[in-house]
Symmetry: C2
Subunit: 379 residues, 2 copies
């Protein structure tokens, strides 16, 4: 473990909520738990709190380490810590595992109190709005009236935008990284194939695999492989693997499996993921992505939508991101400008594709840090 420029060892906490949460689908959750981590100190005026919203396969462990011999830090350790863009010397940072998740918060693998068995596929479908409302409950629980900033990349950026519309007086800055106003048909298509891969795994049992003591590991691995391709740019893959063969020389003989390095890499990614992620959660979260459409209830007009926001915005995109391309971020920026909201936009030249939002790209960190300094100066 390297604690340098790190928040050090962190311990997840659990908040339990007993007031029912009404969901977009019309159902409600009577009780639920949210697991979260915090980094830094809440100041006396409670004005320096920042919420981190995670993406598709993320969780509450955004920074630091869970133990002294923990080798892997939280998923956004590059951006959260002392002196980092989200500076824990200045901010009180909160990151939770979203409702429906599989890392401690109530979700499909939790016990349904009505049946005494895991929810499985009967867990209510969630929308981004539901996450935002549950996050507002967590803010109440922590005594945070207004976030200095709500921040997220990808699906996390969608939650940040939804915050600006659902609770305009509880968010001062909205930071939207590598996101979009809604998914394109191609985005929908990739999510569909990923879900199909899971659902057609015979070990899926219609989602009731826990009761059957199985895990749809093959389907989930395939889903992850498909996702992974869309997170990387063609260039990033070329730089990382090219057409290199595992053996180093081109076998012209009989085929073996996974001769190319990129293929064994994908297999590894897939099998790692399927060992620790819940398939029903993956399905739930991709559906939330599919249905996210910021302007739907505002006559499909993002300008009309953003007129309800009162905060300032930072929007960041990455040049080789083909999942949510810079063009999609410019749609957000154009709507914000037309809605006369304060917005800063940076398109970062980066070869890493969508994954760039997790990477220590100097110009990205510089822009992010400079903006957050301004946010901090207001607290």
């Amino acid at each position: 473990m390297s604690a340098q420029q790190s928040v050090g060892i962190v311990t997840p906490q659990v908040a339990r909520f007993d007031e029912p949460l009404a969901l977009t689908c019309g159902r409600q959750l009577d009780t639920y738990e949210l697991v979260y981590e915090t980094y830094g100190e809440l100041n006396a005026s409670r004005s320096n709190a920042v919420l981190i919203c995670h993406a598709l396969s993320g969780n509450h462990h955004a920074a630091g380490y869970h133990s002294a011999d923990d080798k892997k830090p939280g998923w956004w350790n590059e951006c959260i810590g002392p002196g980092k863009p989200i500076d824990t010397n200045r901010f009180f940072v909160v990151c939770l595992n979203n409702l429906g998740g599989c890392h401690g918060s109530t979700g499909p693998s939790s016990i349904n109190p009505a049946t005494g068995r895991p929810w499985g596929p009967d867990f209510p479908p969630l929308r981004t709005r539901d996450w935002v409302h549950s996050q507002a409950r967590l803010a109440d629980y922590l005594g945070i009236g207004c976030w200095a900033a709500v921040i997220g990349g990808s699906l996390g950026g969608m939650q940040a935008m939804r915050w600006s519309l659902e609770f305009p007086d509880r968010i001062r800055h909205c930071i939207v990284i590598a996101a979009a106003l809604k998914l394109s048909a191609q985005n929908l298509a990739f999510n569909e194939v990923a879900r199909q891969a899971i659902e057609s795994d015979p070990d899926y049992f219609g989602g009731n695999y826990q009761s059957s003591n199985t895990v749809p590991a093959r389907g989930l691995a395939l889903a992850r492989m498909i996702g992974h391709i869309t997170y990387l740019s063609d260039d990033a893959m070329a730089n990382k693997f090219g057409r290199d063969l595992r053996s180093g020389s081109l076998s012209r003989g009989e085929d073996s499996n996974a001769e190319f390095q990129v293929q064994s890499y994908l297999r590894y990614q897939g099998s790692q993921f399927s060992g620790h992620f819940d398939a029903n959660t993956y399905i739930l979260m991709t559906r939330a992505l599919d249905y996210f459409d910021l302007a739907l209830e505002y006559d499909n007009d993002p300008v009309a939508a953003f007129r309800h926001a009162q905060c300032s915005f930072l929007v960041i995109s990455f040049s080789t991101d083909w999942r949510f391309s810079p063009e999609r971020s410019r749609e957000i920026v154009d709507a914000l400008i037309a809605a006369e909201r304060p917005v800063t936009y940076a398109e970062i030249d980066a070869k890493e594709g969508h994954d760039a939002f997790l990477m220590p790209i100097p110009r990205y960190l510089d822009v992010f840090r400079a903006y957050m300094r301004r946010v901090g100066d207001e607290t």
Copy 2:
């Protein structure tokens, strides 16, 4: 059936070869059959023959109809027929099902004479070079010394390029549409996930599904869905489906399956394909694609490779093709120019993505027709 501007009703023919074919992998096929169709008439000087090479999931049925009540013409009916770019009033057109295929030519679903059982996964792995050599045998069989043109799109274009190097004195024109000198890491990655989908289907049985009277239909459907996404541009998908829901209105209630039109379309495509294509053939053909690398044996120098060619080239790409983008075609063209080979290049503005090569796009057909007229004038 519409026979207008069509070659009309065509009947596949079978050629049997008893001279062993040595394969790149070191093994050989002692005997094999190739199924093929021909359109138009071979002229007295046998100088007007054109070879069509098919792509990943193609076959020998490129034009016309198989019966009077056949509703679906051959796969390249837009380009082959009287008055069409490949004008059957002028050319004798030959299209075969490649070795290893599943539409009549010897392949994994054929009987292995050594065992009396289907080859299945024991069918020798093939390279593009093997296809070209088997196609040369078919040319011998048909009495064709030199093709007026060898033509192909996608993987078919790779065969056409390989022809120009393996048999430089048997090809006068090489027409390469929506192809590349080799696959990118991203291309390899998509093929890998497609194969993984098939191989992780429990009905695959390590490729011996025929002996088990099963078909890995779910895996093959997934593979096709993944492929299909890469054939269409994001724009084409947006124009075709957008985010339209099947029901026409956004259900905010419980999730049902495949709510978005693009999702039900993909499911349909996948299930249709898995009903008529052989999984082992799909694996074999994607591996041939993976290993295609035109310049590998020429010190990885495409210029050195093309110096062995003696024919003229037409190269065509499509603006929104992200599987084999215009940039990949320009690599071919640049190498041809540096090798001082005659080359015509057209980048066609088209919104259909990779699939554009099968579509009746006016400028595409015009360029193609004009070039083929020149080819015909030489015969």
